[in-house]
């Protein structure tokens, strides 16, 4: 059963991915049935996405992540929160993030 995402949720990268900076792009490759598959759909993150990925460390809540990135980057009010929630939801959907227990 999937839990609902809210600002108190805590997430971390799944063990079943390979994530690397490759030639200026941050790419995430899924590991399916014990195979890191470069021929499968891979996911790339831009600078904002990478900052979100790096912040989701299994300790900070989404609220903490938003506050931390708001203090680091200049953006229109509410924009960073929207990005963090959007990117987290997409990564969760792709099973590249897992909820920290």
């Amino acid at each position: 059963m999937e839990s609902r995402m809210d600002l108190k949720s805590i997430y971390m990268p799944s063990e079943d991915v390979v994530a690397r900076d490759v030639q200026g792009e941050f790419i995430i490759i899924p590991i399916t049935n014990g195979i890191g598959d470069l021929e499968d759909e891979i996911f790339t993150l831009n600078e904002t996405g990478k900052a979100v990925w790096d912040s989701l460390d299994g300790k900070k809540t989404l609220q903490d992540v938003i506050e931390s990135l708001e203090s680091e980057f200049e953006a229109v009010e509410g924009e960073i929160g929207k990005d963090v929630l959007g990117i987290s939801a997409e990564l969760l959907r792709r099973k590249m993030l897992v909820e920290a227990k």
Binding site: V18, V22, I27, G34, I35, G36, E39
Partner: protein, 153 residues
């Protein structure tokens, strides 16, 4: 995003393979080049796995970092000397020189071509292919094969 939209350099591929192996996973990717043809052809998809290497490794097709140019290459083990492996592409005359064990990333365990498995060259016949390749007979066989095909046309 489809991987074909990104061009991966040797260095990037090596990093990705090492990252996958660190998670006890194999790694599947598309190859380019003709040095292992007809057993591995340009645009085939190979799966490599971090299998342990031993004297029984003769004939295995492996992904390794070339000691000279540091590029990722997939060639066949045709012998061993002084604790290093002697590697060679099936289609080319020159050997890659002595390659230390630590430069070997993993073994090719599967080759896919046009969505089907291409098994010839990585099964038990690999030792015979290694013998033929080492002694220059493989090039002769390919040459004769081309002559026969040319005459039929």
């Amino acid at each position: 995003m489809k991987p074909s939209e990104i061009s991966f350099s040797s260095v990037s591929l090596i990093e990705l393979i090492k990252s996958a192996f660190a998670k006890n996973s194999s790694f599947r990717f598309k190859v380019t080049g003709y040095s292992m043809s007809p057993f591995i052809k340009d645009s085939d998809i190979v799966t490599i796995s971090p299998l342990p290497l031993s004297p029984a490794a003769l004939g295995r097709v492996v992904a390794f970092i070339h000691p000279g140019n540091k590029k990722l290459i997939i060639h066949r083990i045709i012998g061993q000397n002084s604790g290093c492996f002697i590697l060679k592409g099936d289609r080319i005359a020159e050997i890659d020189g002595l390659v230390p064990k630590e430069n070997i990333l993993g073994c090719v365990i599967r080759v896919e071509r046009n969505n089907k498995d291409a098994r010839l060259g990585i099964g038990v016949e690999r030792r015979l292919i290694a013998f033929l390749s080492k002694n220059g007979f493989l090039s002769f066989i390919f040459y004769c094969g081309r002559l026969i095909l040319f005459r039929r046309e």
